[in-house]
Symmetry: C2
Subunit: 428 residues, 2 copies
């Protein structure tokens, strides 16, 4: 992509309304713009990141045997009245009356609707287990939306739902999601810590939330260092991991903490996922039953599994940035390479940079090419700000010596290389 033709409005100054670093950087790097309180428009660069995160989530859900569906954003109130949550949910639920004065709502979550879909179609335990998920916009009318996409009102969530014939089977579905979540966040370059959690308005008696480690995280977390080591080594046995201690500060009590001090780690964390086993809480009021192996009608045992897809864009920035801007992990970066033409008004430099651009694109490497006629300083600052993993700089001085400069955004390591050597590094 040529920057001269792209739509990437960067800001030099920190916007006054942004209180946390990810919000500041998302505005400055031209990822989003606020449309109204807690509601954002995703500009091209931010949209690419959002889609890459969504795709990692999708691939890991599919690999775990889940099936993707898409439920609507607007629901009828009927099922929520049946489940008993219509009143429970309070003012966070965006309530709507349509032209025929029917009560509707903008879904904050989808347990009722997916249970109803399942109820209408599934009759026998032989059709179980199943796990259906969707990646859809949700709305929660926060009284005080803030922190950019970290606590917005309209946000993108992956919510998945498992259906099983009994508790034993449901626990397996739960554990499979527990492991899939760890894999998902690891692929985004994050360190996730699972911890026991309250079920809140979803209900049920087994629940974990997933916090990712970030210096600027919203809560302090305390954990058994064995837990994080196992996760970092990819040893993802759900039973073993669930047995190891982790808690946020509001639950952690040094007096009762079972972990010896030498194994007690602490960090700051951001919640990015939450899973629930809620048994028959929705199946009973909605009448979702199947015939079991003995011919009895039994209510389905359910679980639900959420990942904050748009929240992750902010969380990943909180976990990866420096004074100059964002530092994207390669797996979610909007482009792999930022190519800088240092002297766009010099035909030889431009010819060399154009050639490199064509070769990168020819090799399928996603590249953003700063071909603008701007000062070098502004180009370097913008490129650091938007945080692409690799910066390749082409200038007249280097070209005389037959070299270009390759910089790794994370860490800042720079190397002068021949064009061929630089391309070999980037196209690998």
């Amino acid at each position: 992509m040529r920057l001269s033709r792209y739509f990437l409005p960067t800001l030099k100054e920190n916007p006054a309304e942004a209180q946390i670093v990810s919000h500041r950087l998302m505005l400055r790097a031209g990822l989003v713009r606020q449309a109204s309180a807690g509601i954002y428009s995703w500009l091209p660069l931010g949209f690419r990141v959002l889609k890459r995160i969504e795709q990692i989530v999708r691939e890991e859900m599919d690999a775990a045997g889940c099936h993707e569906v898409l439920m609507p954003t607007i629901q009828s109130a009927d099922l929520w009245i049946k489940s008993g949550r219509y009143n429970d949910y309070g003012k966070e639920m965006l309530r709507i009356r349509d032209r025929h004065d029917r009560e509707m709502l903008y879904g904050p979550t989808n347990e009722e609707l997916i249970t109803e879909i399942f109820r209408s179609e599934v009759r026998s335990y032989r059709q179980l287990p199943r796990n259906l998920y969707h990646i859809q916009w949700k709305f929660r009318d926060e009284v005080r939306p803030r922190f950019g996409v970290m606590r917005g009102r309209e946000f993108l969530m992956k919510d998945g739902y498992s259906f099983d014939v009994d508790f034993e089977s449901a626990r397996k579905s739960y554990d499979a999601m527990f492991v899939a979540y760890l894999k998902t966040f690891r692929r985004m370059g994050l360190t996730p810590i699972p911890m026991r959690a309250d079920a809140g308005p979803i209900g049920g008696d087994l629940s974990h939330e997933f916090q990712i480690v970030a210096e600027t995280g919203e809560s302090a977390v305390f954990y058994d260092t064995d837990l994080v080591e196992l996760i970092e080594q990819g040893e993802l046995d759900a039973d073993r991991l669930k047995s190891l201690y982790a808690a946020t500060d509001d639950k952690h009590d040094p007096k009762t903490c079972p972990v010896p001090p030498e194994r007690l780690g602490t960090a700051r964390g951001i919640e990015v996922g939450h899973i629930f086993y809620f048994g028959t809480k929705y199946a009973e009021p909605l009448g979702a039953t199947v015939t079991d192996a003995d011919g009895n009608q039994v209510p389905i045992h359910g679980g639900s599994y959420g990942i904050g897809v748009s929240r992750l864009v902010g969380a990943i920035i909180e976990a990866g940035h420096d004074d100059a801007g964002i530092v994207w992990p390669e797996s979610v970066a909007p482009f792999k390479v930022g190519l800088i033409n240092l002297k766009a008004d010099d035909p030889a430099t431009t010819a060399a940079a154009d050639g490199i651009y064509d070769r990168l694109r020819g090799s399928g490497v996603p590249v953003l090419y700063d071909d603008r006629d701007e000062r070098a300083g502004a180009k370097f600052a913008d490129m650091d700000l938007i945080g692409l993993p690799w910066q390749l700089t082409v200038g007249p001085r280097g070209l005389k010596g037959g070299v270009v400069e390759l910089k790794r955004r994370a860490g800042g390591e720079r190397n002068e290389l021949s064009i061929d050597a630089a391309l070999a590094r980037l196209c690998g």
Copy 2:
């Protein structure tokens, strides 16, 4: 994908509520289920088709130099009050009050919001032209939603917006979209006919709609056969095509029609796209101006470009079906191949079918494998109903002779082939 583990609830009978063939087939083939009036949940098979259509639209927009963004579904009423459309839009607009009693709405289209984004960031004609699009859910509160996803209330639309410094440049942007739309629909196996249209609530004085040909289409269309020939031959010169006659029955008047009878074609059509040039209609009230080459502040000239993405699922079925079910074009089919194991309780047959399944997947061919223990008749009927382009049937009798049967869904041609020959045909 193994059908025994998939979520594909098919129906044998025609649902009474469905009046048109695409609605009937979408329900019967398990593509969608109604969540409430005019609002649908997309089940796994339907979701795959929706995503494939979306991806074709995306690729053609990107190829035409447009940039993808994502605006929210919920908007503040403010900009709509400024543009003057807040009252104009009437009861079709879903109006919402949030917890702070602010007037919000579910966007039926996005001219105001995108113009505001552009206004805030763009200052100079040098930053033009630009074309931004998004693929997002819209809501129009139809008084009587019907025909399934063809006239739903919540629907997925690609809406794009061009920004130019003057009329001449804007006309080029318009023509580029005119051509991109024809390419887009052609890739879906459709025959699109562009025709002059009224601008309606979008406004402006230049507008075309795109009807695709389907025997069961909603309107009669009349056209110069040269027009359709040029489009089918891929000769997509916008000026030439725009000069050729086409009109729906409500505008066509045999007395004034300029086409000689021998060149006047007629068909039935379904509207799937609509493009508008509206000049400064939104830029003026919203104050979206740029500095032109002479240093004057001038309002931006805009156009907008819509494709009904979810509507296309229905439209493609209207254009491609027979008595047995859907006939998907390969470019949008949810899977390329349906593999039928005729005797799932026979170990030899199952071993052969499993082997073919693995080889197809190994070659990256999307395949739905009917591994259920069901009667052959039910399997054939389901496979015809869901309309995958190729059916590969593995049975004990054929295997004795070393053959499997390959059937092309469109046309019904069948061939007995060796397994290797069948795979060579499908993996090519």
